[in-house]
Every structure is written in structure tokens, then in C-alpha cells.
């Protein structure tokens, strides 16, 4: 169970997240949509303290972190319960594809190297990159890099996977393979919080869709309700623009 209460984030005088409350059930797939610059990515980045929130509490399982006075150890513990997929992939440039998958398993989770390698092989197979395990990120296509990025998050077996605009930096030709992989991840009942501009994908993968505007959750509900019978006028206007 994941519980977020009163999450606030300010950049200078600008309030980007203005009190976010959200409960996420195990295995639930939530998609966040909304206009650019309304705090969608910031929400994800605040949940693992890549951007430290200014106020609010985040509970993942039996760990509750109060943003106002979070210790470095609490932040670390929170990050070890979450995984993050970056818009720009952010693979470790000095590690091969396989090492990108095993790095955290060995260094953070203290898994035996052989066990980590076995897990990496299984994931490479699942993401369709068994033959590219020894390649460095610079030698991989954008789509391949993002699949490794997703694989790295899968390997962690995290209680919550945060996925930040996974296809926004991709050439159109690679978007399909990345979205297909995320659909497969979702089938494993991985709890996910996804920010995306791909509305068709959102409709297919989401159990629940959140519409965020002005740093607040304006409307939330199952995809059918959000996309077919939107109530809030801002959501209606947003859907007209992107549809």
C-alpha cells in the first residue's frame, strides 16, 4: 500500500505541487496526465526525492517519510523501495547493458554476482535484448536504451515503479516497442505510476487516470470515465487539445 498525503513542492516562489493526496493499491497501474509544466514529472521525482518535496508524507509499505524532516537514511530506504524509469533513459554510461541491470542488485541489494547475472539474463530475454547484453549504452538505439532502462527498474522488484514520460525523448519508430514492454511489465501486476502524453497507451494500461493541473489532482477515475465523460472543464479542454 502506498499513501501520499499533502505533498507540496516549491521551486522558489512557484508552487509546483500544491497538496497531493493519493493512495495506490498493490498492483495498481496509475497514469498521470495533464498540461506541460503542471507538476506531473515533479510528482514522480518527489516520490523518490530526486526533487525533495517541501512538505507532506510518503508511505510505502511500513516506511513513512515526512518530507519536512527526512533523514538521508530515510530517503535511501524510500529509494530502495521504488524504481524509476527516466525520460532520457539515464543508463550508467560506464556499464554495459547487462551491468546496468546487475549494478544495483550487487551493490545495493548485496545479491551474489551469479544470482544477479541470472536475473539479468532473464530480464534481457524478457525485454528482447539477450544479444545486446555486452553493449555499452552509447552503442544502443534510443528504443533499446529505454528498454534497458525499464529492465533496470524491473530488476529491482520495487514496490512502486515510477515511469516518467518514457517515450518523450524517443524517435517515433521506437515508441511502439517501449510501450509494448511497459504493457508486459504491467501484466506482472507491478505497481506503477506513469506520466505519459500517449493517450491511447494511458487508456490501455491504466486502472486509474489522474488529471493534474496547477499542482493539484483535478479529476481522477477509470480511463473510460476520464476520457469519455470528463467532468472538469480544464480536463475537457486538455483532451480536446491532445485528442
Amino acid at each position: 500500500m502506498i499513501r501520499i498525503r499533502g505533498l507540496v513542492k516549491r521551486f522558489g516562489s512557484r508552487t509546483v505541487l500544491d497538496g497531493i493526496d493519493l493512495d495506490i493499491a498493490p498492483g495498481e497501474r496509475i497514469v498521470v496526465i495533464g498540461p506541460s509544466g503542471t507538476g506531473k514529472s515533479t510528482l514522480l521525482r518527489c516520490l523518490n526525492f530526486l526533487d525533495p518535496p517541501d512538505a507532506g508524507t510518503i508511505t510505502v509499505g511500513d516506511l513513512t517519510v515526512d518530507a519536512a524532516h527526512a533523514s538521508r537514511r530515510e530517503v535511501l530506504a524510500l529509494r530502495r523501495r521504488t524504481a524509476f524509469v527516466f525520460q532520457n533513459y539515464a543508463l550508467f554510461a560506464n556499464k554495459t547493458a547487462r551491468q546496468n541491470l546487475t549494478e544495483a542488485l550487487v551493490v545495493v541489494k548485496r545479491m551474489a554476482p551469479a544470482a544477479a547475472d541470472a536475473r539479468a539474463e532473464a530480464i534481457l530475454a524478457e525485454i528482447g535484448l539477450l544479444d545486446r547484453g555486452d553493449a555499452y549504452p552509447a552503442a544502443l538505439s534510443g528504443g533499446q536504451q529505454q528498454r534497458i532502462g525499464i529492465g533496470r527498474a524491473m530488476a529491482l522488484d520495487a514496490e512502486l515503479m515510477l515511469v516518467d514520460e518514457p517515450t518523450s525523448a524517443l524517435d517515433p519508430e521506437w515508441v511502439g516497442e517501449v510501450l509494448a514492454l511497459l504493457m508486459r511489465v504491467a501484466e506482472h501486476r507491478q505497481t506503477m505510476l506513469i506520466v505519459t502524453h500517449e493517450m491511447q497507451f494511458a487508456r490501455e494500461i491504466a486502472d486509474r487516470v489522474l488529471f493534474i493541473d496547477g499542482g493539484r489532482i483535478v479529476e481522477a477515475g477509470p480511463p473510460a470515465a476520464i476520457f469519455e465523460t470528463p467532468k472538469d472543464t480544464r480536463l475537457q479542454a486538455f483532451l480536446r487539445r491532445v485528442g
Binding site: 523518490n48 526525492f49 530526486l50 535511501l76 529509494r79 530502495r80 521504488t82 524504481a83 524509476f84 527516466f86 532520457n88 533513459y89 539515464a90 543508463l91 550508467f92 554510461a93 560506464n94 556499464k95 549494478e103 544495483a104 551493490v107 545495493v108 553493449a135 555499452y136 549504452p137 552509447a138 552503442a139 533496470r152 529491482l156
Partner: protein, 223 residues
Amino acid sequence: MVIDLGYMAGLVPVILRYVPLTLAMAVVAMAIALVLAAALAIVRVLKVPVLGGVVAVFISFFRGTPLLVQLFLFYYGLPQLVPAFRAIDGVTAAVIGLTLHFAAYMAESIRGAILGIDRSQWEAGASVGMTRLQLMRRIILPQAARVAAPTLLNYFIDMIKSTSLAFTLGVTEMMGAAQKEAAGSFRYLEAFLVVALIYWAIVEALSFVQRRMEIRLGRAFAR
């Protein structure tokens, strides 16, 4: 006066005998300086409280004063304050001086290289739950090392030449040997020319290695 080539030729093997000492001083000082510089750079980058300020002053002092002054302070000055330092011989004092001096310079190069690493690398490491030191050691430093390597090799070359200052602490290394020879024969030009040529040859050899290394580093992480 004409240059006595025969004298010069005879002097070459005499001076060459001191090349191992020169290289040994440089290699030992470089090895320790590298470790120290990396540590100093990390303390600076992570903005460690108190220690960060101490390191900043350390770096500022050793970059802000001439190496010769530092060596004299250390070898001739400090023993007046701390008698135990009298036990330190010239070679050791020179190595310690070179180490501290070059560590200060190299720390700034390494810090620059670390700060040049893309923010996404830090965020990726943080997102999988690495501590800052794990991130530094496993992800950031290996990438920064490749960026800084050519500059660090430059400092090594500079360091080899700077070992000649050990002569001023009474160490008979290449320069000291040449000085002694010249004092006997009064052929200063030939003696110092031989020293200059030998230093030049050593540095050229290293520059060749450096060029090769840069080509290799350019290809790094690309396959």
C-alpha cells in the same frame, strides 16, 4: 669555447644512472597524490561540512605558493618547529612535497571532471538506492577518470621535471649529479645540456603514451 661532444657522451651514462631515482620519486609521489587528489575532490564535490572548508584552504595554499618555497618550508623550516621532522631525509621530503603540491592541482582537475558528468548519471544512481559514496566510486569516478586522464598525465610529466628541485634539498638526482660533474670539470654547458636532453627524451616518451591513450579514451564506452 666549443661544446665538447665527447665529454657529453661520456656524461650520458653517468646521468642515466640517476633516472631510476627520478622516476621512482615521480611514480611514488604520483600514486599517493592521485589517491589524495581523488579524496580531496570527493570531499569538495560532496560539500562535506567543516572538512570541505579545510580542503579548500589546503588546495588554495598548495596552488598559491611555489613548489620550491613549499619544499624549503617543509625540509628546512618545519624541523625548527617539530624536531621529529629532522629524521626525514631529502628524498622523502621531496616526495611528500611533490605529493601535496600536485595533489592540490589534480584535485581541482578531478573535481572539474566530476562536475562535468551529466546529472542523469547521479539521478540514475540515486534512483536505484545507491549511497553517495557508492555512486561516486562505481559510476561517477570511473567516468570522470577518463575525462581527467590526459590532464593528469600532464601533471605527471610536470612532476617528473619538478623532481629536479629535490637537488635543492641536497638529493643527488639527475640535476645534482650533473652539478657535481660540472663542478669538477667546469663544463657546465655540457653537463646541463645532457640533463636537459635526458629530461626531454623522458617527457617525449610519455607524450607518445599520452597521445595513444587519448585515442583509446576517445573510443571508450562506445561498443
